[in-house]
Symmetry: C2
Subunit: 143 residues, 2 copies
DNA sequence: CCTTGACCTTCCATCGACTGGAACCCCCAT
DNA sequence: ATGGGGGTTCCAGTCGATGGAAGGTCAAGG
């Protein structure tokens, strides 16, 4: 299988697949012409990676999960720990985003949004009180 | 005021303040020794930026918001649009993260997390069905 | 046999929003 | 003069790709 076949089957772009080889997540063979020759096992790994990434696991988490997946003697506790740590991160991000949403929704609601200059959004940004709390450490910032 | 004073008052690290000057968000004066000399107006802008960033606005949004803040003849509609677009982004991210949370919570719940190798988390990642939907476009990915 | 076009390859740069660190300058107190 | 705590610049790195340039390969059609 060439790269565009695996791309189609795994749903990952060719660029991403090359990148995953670069960082050592997969090790496809090579044809005599230099083309990558993907085995079924490579395909499966890529599909695995795609799903793990879709769940928001970091690349390093993916690397660890892939190793555990391959290791038939793994302890499910190891997988469990990675996943529940990640779940905790996600929960924190949701909380952060919800706080932003509350504040923003309130401001947006209060702003007339017409041709006049009066704007509670700018007033609030100028004076403070975006929320009660500090900007939290686990930073949820724009994509 | 020197940089560490403004840092203390605005809550932004000196590095970030220099960066904001670099990208043209603020234009502090300079003392004869080359030190940045911050006026009150610079301080206010930095505080404004800190709050806008805490609400998750991108730097480019912040630039636009700052310009509108300075413009006493602005139309609140412009501010409103930026904020409500951003609010929509946040809502999408929350939805994505909640979908991840559901799936992950289920998997974590199903995994024994002991010394045995059997692990529904890995099984699921290996076989698919992370959720009903495609990984959405507005990618929420790890920090 | 030659060309065309769709593949494939590598390598380098860019995105966002900082952050770390090196190397160096400045100012004040001892 | 020396030490320590400011400040300055500039370069590299983070994370996870993605865009693009420059060039090699292959199969089909004329």
């Amino acid at each position: 299988m060439n790269i565009s076949d695996v791309a189609a089957k795994s749903g990952l772009p060719p660029k991403t697949i090359r990148y995953y080889e670069d960082i050592g997540l997969i090790k496809p063979l090579r044809d005599s012409n230099g083309y990558r020759a993907f085995r079924d096992s490579d395909m499966h790994k890529l599909a695995f990676l795609g799903r793990a990434r879709a769940l928001g696991f970091t690349i390093e988490d993916c690397r660890a999960l892939l190793a555990l997946w391959e290791d038939k003697a793994r302890a499910s506790a190891d997988v469990h720990r990675i996943a529940s740590d990640h779940l905790a991160q996600i929960k924190m991000k949701i909380a952060d985003l919800q706080a932003m949403r509350e504040t923003l929704a309130h401001l947006v609601h209060c702003c007339a949004g017409d041709e006049r200059p009066d704007c509670p959004i700018l007033t609030s940004l100028g004076q403070g009180q975006t929320s009660g709390k500090e900007p939290s450490r686990h930073a949820v910032r724009p994509a």
